[in-house]
Amino acid sequence: MTDHRPEAYNLIRGMDRADLLLLGTAIGYALALLHLIVSLWLRETRFGRWPFALPLIAGLSAHTLWLARAAMRFGHVPIISTQEVFALLAWAILVYYLLVQRKRRWTDVLGVFVLPIVLLFVLVALVSTGFKLLPQELEDLLRMPALPLHIGFMMLAYAGFLLAFLAALMYLLQERELKRKRFGFIYRYFPSLSMCETIGHRSLLFGFLMLTFGIGTGIILLRRSDPVFWRGDPIIVLALITWLFYLIVVHYRLAAGWRGRRAALLLIVGFLATAAVFTSARLFGHIL
């Protein structure tokens, strides 16, 4: 007996296995988030960090595996389909969060802000299509060795700016409570203003550094693939504006010592601008 649909069958089976990895990722992150919220809520610390760290590490492993699999399958950085973009972004955010978090108490409320975003991105990746349209010139671009570097830098830049944004948000929320002198959840659980500021500041510097490298490698890439790369491409213009904006923010923070409320507001605006660049990059069908 011959199988009537060997190819389709293999494809579905292959997809399934990949989706299972992504599903496992989502479940791992969801469990970690749930444990974090419940233990904060109940002030329950006697189970230690493992019920939080274990599902998170398991999820991250599945996540990494999924990305590696996608990369091997298509022979390039998994950055083309919507699914790949969200999965990669979620991965970068989580990795950067773990870097920030590693020296802090695991019960920190920061995870309550970061993990839902990571989880949301993984879920979006899970439901969105893996379909990709690959024009020939892009195909060539994808095989350039500098591309993974460029994409890695950009993803980490986004992750840094996201964390800076969240820390700034936490700063503003808490500052408002301290000014109003009415205390609730925030007062009890948030890290101090100074800690929010430190996390925001470091994330900003990190994000800016990564963005600088990312734009640098991006320009090299575009020059190679298209000698007249510069021609008013809106993405490049937007990216440069973002970079200039962050340059000014970094400058004022380092040189003029801007801090507190105003600095936090700038971080929020900066992140929204970056998010806009990112979204328009997708809309215009670019890779960035």
């Binding site: 109940l42 002030r43 329950e44 610390t45 006697r46 808490q174 301290l178 000014k179 002198k181 205390f183 007062y187 890290p191 101090s192 203003l193 100074s194 800690m195 003029a256 010592g257 801007w258 801090r259 507190g260 409320r261 105003r262």
Partner: protein
């Protein structure tokens, strides 16, 4: 056997009475040995702090007799006629005594709800009693449980968290703004008890740099010498604010000492690093609009007291959760205690059965003639087997009744039945029974 707790605390007795009844550390061993004579009171512990004096005793006496005995001990030992303090005494028996001890250890009976010092004080009282040799099986079972209850209350409820005094609230707020206080500088303007208390609290939390500013230079230098701080004159106020992170203002007078323009100028000079101002003077001496400046947090005494009230309210609601933990622990302890009490009963029961069995064996041995060692062993196995098989259901039932308490009437009659069986140990009664043996 009964557990009795007799005592007084800050609610039932004024300090004049409490201090007369209190025990000094040095006299405790002797007092404990006097209390625990081994017959009327078999185990005892004395907890004496500035807010309470309590005697915890294990006694075979009735409740009333035990109370009399402890009261007599207190009067005689501390040389106070019973009439002078009797009205302030409370007493608890068994389950209620256990509950009271658990609540005290967890800080639920303290003047400042949930305060942690009492835990250490109970621990010390236990250690002293143990050293004096007045702790037996019951208290060795009870006290560790009290400590684990207190630990559970501390980790599972927030009854001990959240600052409930003005100066500790100030420290908590400072931590909320600055995280680490070690590298921060405190500026004290003026003086006063409350201000000094706040400064002490801050220094205990790690603050090392203190500036003191006073209208009179001498007073500033005096205080500075006392705290190991730097004295500044009033003219240097703006530059002092620029250097400080936390400012405590406690000055008399009707006009504002720290004005908006001072702080605004200082904020520029300090490049907008956050500034925490605590105004504990009444009337206020920091211009209220200072609080509107960016990165400036201004709290006056009313704000701090309001936070204290909210925190106390919060502690009270957490205390309700703690009571549930205490209730559970009391039940668990009473079960364990009954198991402990039933142990000797069961041992006596088994001993009685063995006495009967081996007694009968000896009586009939002459009819058996010489036995080989194998036969001897077989006989022992035979008797042990019969004893075990007969005793097992009864022992299991005793254990069960002990664990669960005597909830069912048949348990009670069952226990009474076995008490009769054990009473047969009484030599006069067993002697009168023996001849009636059919053999």
């Amino acid at each position: 056997m009964t557990i009795v707790l007799v005592g007084m605390n800050h609610r039932t007795a004024p300090v004049e009475v409490r201090e007369r009844l209190a025990f000094a550390d040095a006299e405790l061993p002797e007092a404990l040995r006097e209390l625990v004579d081994g017959t009327t009171i078999t185990e005892g512990l004395i907890l004496s702090t500035c807010n309470r004096v309590e005697v915890l005793a294990v006694t075979p006496l009735s409740e009333r007799a035990a109370l009399e005995r402890i009261r007599a001990f207190l009067s005689q030992r501390q040389q106070i006629p019973a009439g002078e303090y009797e009205a302030s005494l409370y007493h608890y028996v068994d389950r209620e005594a256990v509950r009271h001890l658990f609540r005290v250890t967890a800080g639920l009976d303290s003047m400042v709800l949930g305060e942690p010092q009492i835990f250490g004080q109970v621990k010390a009282a236990y250690a002293q009693a143990a050293a004096a040799g007045t702790v037996g099986k019951t208290l060795h079972l009870l006290l560790p449980r009290a400590f684990s209850v207190a630990k559970r209350v501390r980790t599972e409820t927030a009854v001990g968290t959240m600052a409930v005094s003005v100066s500790s609230v100030a420290v908590e707020l400072a931590r909320k703004i600055f995280e680490d206080l070690q590298e921060r500088t405190v500026l004290l303007i003026g003086a006063g008890k409350m201000a000094e208390l706040a400064v002490r609290h801050l220094m205990a939390s790690g603050v090392r740099h203190l500036l003191i500013c006073n209208r009179t230079r001498e007073r500033a230098e005096q205080l500075a010498a006392h705290f190991g701080a730097e004295a500044l004159s009033f003219e240097a106020l703006t530059s002092a604010i620029a250097r400080a992170d936390i400012l405590i203002c406690s000055v008399g007078g009707a006009e504002y000492v720290v004005r908006r323009e001072h702080v605004a100028a200082a904020m520029l000079a300090r490049r907008h690093r956050p500034l925490f101002l605590i105004d504990i003077s009444v009337p206020r001496t920091v211009e209220p609009s200072v609080g509107q400046l960016a990165n400036v947090f201004l709290y006056d005494i009313d704000d701090l007291e309001q936070i204290v009230r909210v925190h106390l309210e919060h502690r009270r609601s957490e205390a309700a959760r703690a009571e549930v933990i205490v209730d559970q622990a009391v039940e668990a302890f009473m079960k364990a205690l009954r198991s402990l009490e039933i142990g000797p009963v069961i041992a006596a029961f088994r001993r009685r059965l063995e006495e009967i069995a081996y007694g009968e064996l000896e009586r009939h041995r002459r009819y058996l003639g010489a036995l080989t060692p194998e036969q001897e062993r077989a006989l022992h196995h035979l008797l042990e087997g019969i004893i075990n098989k007969l005793a097992h259901p009864a022992i299991a039932r005793l254990h069960h009744a002990a664990r669960e308490g005597l909830r069912h009437p048949e348990d009670v009659s069952f226990l009474e039945l076995w008490r009769d069986v054990l009473a047969a140990r009484d030599p006069s009664r067993s002697a009168s029974r023996e001849p009636r043996s059919p053999r």
